[in-house]
Point group: C2
């Protein structure tokens, strides 16, 4: 899916070096991240549950629930991330239905994978 | 959360008797359901993963992904359900940002629970 142009502002990009944490479980949250380049590993209790690739996103659960991070996110490679804070998130849901659908599709995919994992 | 008035049309309500299936894994999908009264059990491979109560919803994953049902849904009690088909869903995401947020909150809650289940 094409990301909205709103993401394209270079001023907004965050560079993270390979091996560096983006956040850890228990951290306060306030942003989700869209992966522009590189890859990010998501771990729960040290177990790799997902590797997020370009155009994918992560960190939305605690943003939506306004709760603490439930997983660790670590740069698997050098990567460029587009942070979306709560204000930005709400205004995009308000103004860009395709952004809401993009987030819902990613979450549906993640739910299906989580259910498969749970069932072994 | 208050459900949009659009849900309130009595013409739209579907009554399901206790013990009856609403859908089964592998079925074609085309609707999600908001629980107006009663309770609905969601099972994956015969394992109860969630009981959906009034104001909660289910069936959104395959609606969003346009894919087959991944779980069974069975009326735990007599219940009243409000079906939301794909056309209705897309127009509500378009017109009612609070509907998109309602769906995303429910999915975030479900993801957190699925992750906990997966981790034992």
């Amino acid at each position: 899916m094409k990301l909205p142009d709103i993401f394209a502002s270079p001023a907004n990009v965050r560079d993270v070096l390979q091996g560096k944490p983006i956040f850890n479980a228990g951290d306060e949250s306030g942003e989700m991240f869209v992966v522009q380049s590189g890859a990010v590993d998501i771990l729960i209790n040290g177990v790799l549950v997902e590797t997020v690739l370009p155009e994918g996103f992560f960190g939305e659960i605690s943003l939506i629930e306004d709760s603490l991070r439930s997983a660790d996110a670590i740069a698997r490679t050098d990567c460029k991330l587009l942070p979306v804070n709560r204000h930005h998130f709400l205004s995009m849901v308000d103004e860009l239905p395709q952004f809401a659908l993009y987030v819902m599709k990613g979450m549906a995919d993640r739910l299906r994978k989580a259910d498969k994992r749970a069932m072994g």
